[in-house]
Amino acid sequence: MTLIATDDFKPRAEPASTLDPRRRSSARVRLGPGPAIPFGMQIGSIGLVVLWTLGSALGLIDPRILSAPWTVIEAFGKLIAEGRLQEHFTISTWRAVTGLVIGVAIGTVLAVIAGLSRWGEAIIDGPVQIKRAVPTLALIPLLMLWFGIGEEMKIITIVLAVIVPIYIHTHNALRGIDNRYVELAETLNLSRWAFIRQVVLPGALPGFLLGLRFAVTLCWVSLVVVEQVNATSGLGYMINLARTYGQTEIIIAGIVVYAVLGLASDAAVRLVERRALSWRRTLSQ
């Protein structure tokens, strides 16, 4: 990042007053991060994989602690050939997507209610903040007590995890809407519903989409927690079963699937973000 770097910048060379004013304006200071590097987002991750491969190949990484990439690829081949991965993947996807859809809906409604009314905030904000501070794993015993050990409990756990980021970011963006728009809407005598549709939702959209980015990765991550309780299927179950038998390569294969799923979901939301927020002119362009 270039903060103060001009062609002819020489510290203590001359007093500032003698600088040619025209030259100064032509070499304007650039404060933004500059143009995007092609595939810039991937460089760090690829570097990590290269380090892993080299470390394993050179024997610097103990395979009992971290399996080599080729062992993991072998495990992938076996899991796919036997149809295990597809099977676990399908059921996990169903759980994650169901939880995500319900959680996003609830989180958005809660954020709008808490954002637009003081009573709503008084009632809703506290519990959501509490949920935010409590790890999902700690809630499992209670959720079992209330909802049993079936699918219901698993979906509800994911829903609870998803609500938090959606709520926090949507609520935050909503509260950040400029008062001028609210006054304008009042002047135009907009109904409450029209105000929500035309001012609140578009205004909160950037926050909602940021929340959604957290939520999509979180709903996948939650699987590893919910599928520890009475599951016989799903990626989390696959990882836990492998853990029981110390099959490190399958554990890593599962983690790779999580990473790919998380990144892909995140990329999808960012695509939507770019389309939906094309009116914005920000640093990211």
Binding site: R64, N230, R243
Partner: protein
Amino acid sequence: MPRITYPLLSLALGLAVASPMAHAAEPLLDEVPPGTVLRIGDPVTQKALEISGLIDELSFEVEWANISGGPQGSEAFRAKALDVSTVAEIPSIHATWTDLPVRNIAYREREDPIAHPVYRFGVTPALGDQIDGLEDFKGRRVAYSPGQAQGALVLRALEAAGLTRDDVTLVELPSTGDVYPVALAAGQVDIAPLGGVNIARYLSQYGDDGARTIDHGLRDDPSHLWAPQEVLDDPAKAAALAEYVRLWARATEWINDHPEEYIQGYYVKDQNLSYEDGKAAVEQTGRQVIPSNWDEVIERHTHTIALLAEATGNEPFDAEDLFDRRFEKLAAEALSEGSSATKKQELIQ
């Protein structure tokens, strides 16, 4: 204090004293009433029943749960999410002390427990050449899980070696998943009981670094079905449990008689292990047998309760309270004549 309080107080006290005695004493129904649903957490038997086809003989509806062992089982019992599960010796004792009334309704053991132990003590790689037997535990850090079978085994091993708990450092650590082999490999504990495939895997992974396992020479194989008291108090559920206990016995017999199908169907297909790992696990188990009399196991339980009570500071109680004798004969009687799962010594007696 008003006069009325005394009768009320004595009544309350009387009830409090009487309530533990109020276990199900009613005889079991011969048939399972229609509409009965049993929620069973016994994944291994479930697989054996599925592979063998015995599952078709169940006359009532079952909701299978992938839950077994003490910590998970008692958690599900407390949540009223499960009716019966599978467990070793300790969790039912621990549950009683933590106000979860449960009782064992079936018991099986390994035919030759000394040659086929469930657990071996793993030794951390750095001390492989220094620890040869139980008496070498003195001064070492031993992984200890108070609510699990592994915990009692540690106490019994110390007792067998003539050591007390003060002679070692007990490191409280639950034995779930791969916690114990990982703790040993990382040198966080010196000694930990390992079970199942962890024994072979620990040796193959860390044997070159000095890791080893040692035998304890004790019986460590009790395997029970256990159920919460309130489930046993429900006549319909109790009848369904009786039917399940009989089928559980026949599944045990089937596993004894069909090792190949069991390795393929359970270890390879369901648990994603290699054939060799599955075969090793089956050989490690050996044959499992079911006695028609619980006197011996209750006697052993009495000793374990005393041992645990001393270690945990809890009140000892009568081991008889942990067993529902209505179920005592069911399993053994469900076996065919000359069955591989019948406990042989009893025939001689």
